[in-house]
Symmetry: C2
Subunit: 196 residues, 2 copies
């Protein structure tokens, strides 16, 4: 997430999307926006209660102008210590991270942090469902990869193995997430198949 | 959370605590700090994976100085749409809010927002454990009140009933949360008794 000085962050989320080939139904939406729309749909239809966690910000300075809202005038982005999304579905704790790559042939493991892997491993150990959503932007394909598969590639990397997961392996070991008009990244359809 | 102009937020969390009577073991810690310390202890001992969600901030302007970290130069506090804490314990989804009152005889329901109640009701309906931690600052007593009890008071209020929960009712219908040196707000001890 890089923004030039003075850029309004809220709108600039849209900017990257029009440059890559995307299907009509998905035009102009980032993965984050797609997942947020999906989660809103799940909440509205009472299917699951899953939300994105706010971006962690270290707040250093706050001003209180008279008769208007408090303004944060100095803050810094902090590294997330967990994953971006969590919640509950069919009595199960759900926890996942979502990443986009512009790479054509692989997903670089550098996209994930060590402490996020540790967190996801803990979730699995405690009986939750932990996974990663990976979008290959150039193909506009989105995959569901179970935590266990991710941990296995991660541990290989730690032992000096490859630093990425091949696109082909994700196609084979992961699950293509279907697009649904309202549940744009309909990941619960994969969870239904895998865990229930 | 009100800070005078230019105050450093990080340190000022401490300021209120030295003014109220607190036990030696708990001296100078806010409820949030106590719960964060508790959650860290639970994670370190692998007992539960529960975290506070970051404060939601609407980021409007970001500067990228050369050779240093991005600075948020304009941001606003957003109202949280869910609760502050969630995670997993013994296969169960855990979700709660924590509030302090300086009132001696009651907990004002104005401390909670309608959408937080709706969220907590959804969690309960989907099989999660939802509750509120209430600290009476003047007594330095911290209570665990199950979601169902809170909803009942909330619904009474909507029907024109009282706008608060009496301290005495919280003592009787809730559970006193014991202080533990490392798990300072040892709420899992209550969950163990109530749900397992």
């Amino acid at each position: 997430m890089k923004y030039p000085n003075g850029t309004k962050m809220i709108k600039s989320n849209y900017k990257d999307n029009f440059t890559s080939k995307q299907s009509f139904g998905n035009r102009g939406m980032t993965l984050e926006e797609d997942i947020n729309a999906t989660n809103n749909y799940y909440v509205e239809t009472d299917r699951a209660i899953i939300h994105k966690k706010p971006t962690p910000v270290q707040i250093v300075n706050v001003n209180y102008p008279k008769r208007s809202a408090a303004v944060i005038t100095e803050g810094y982005f902090k590294q997330a210590s967990t994953t971006d999304y969590n919640g509950i579905y069919r009595n199960k704790y759900i926890d996942f991270e979502a990443k986009v790559t512009k790479n054509k042939t692989l997903f670089p493991l550098a996209n994930i942090h060590e402490h996020q892997i540790k967190h996801m491993e803990s979730i699995t150990r405690h009986g939750g469902i932990s996974f990663i959503v990976i979008r290959f932007a150039l193909y506009n394909e989105t995959y569901f990869l179970q935590g266990e598969k991710l941990f296995s590639y991660w541990n290989d990397k730690l032992k000096g193995g490859r630093k990425s997961i091949p696109y082909q392996a994700i196609k084979e070991e992961g699950f293509f997430i279907p697009f649904h008009y309202q549940a744009r990244v309909n990941y619960l359809s994969i969870i239904d198949k895998l865990y229930f």
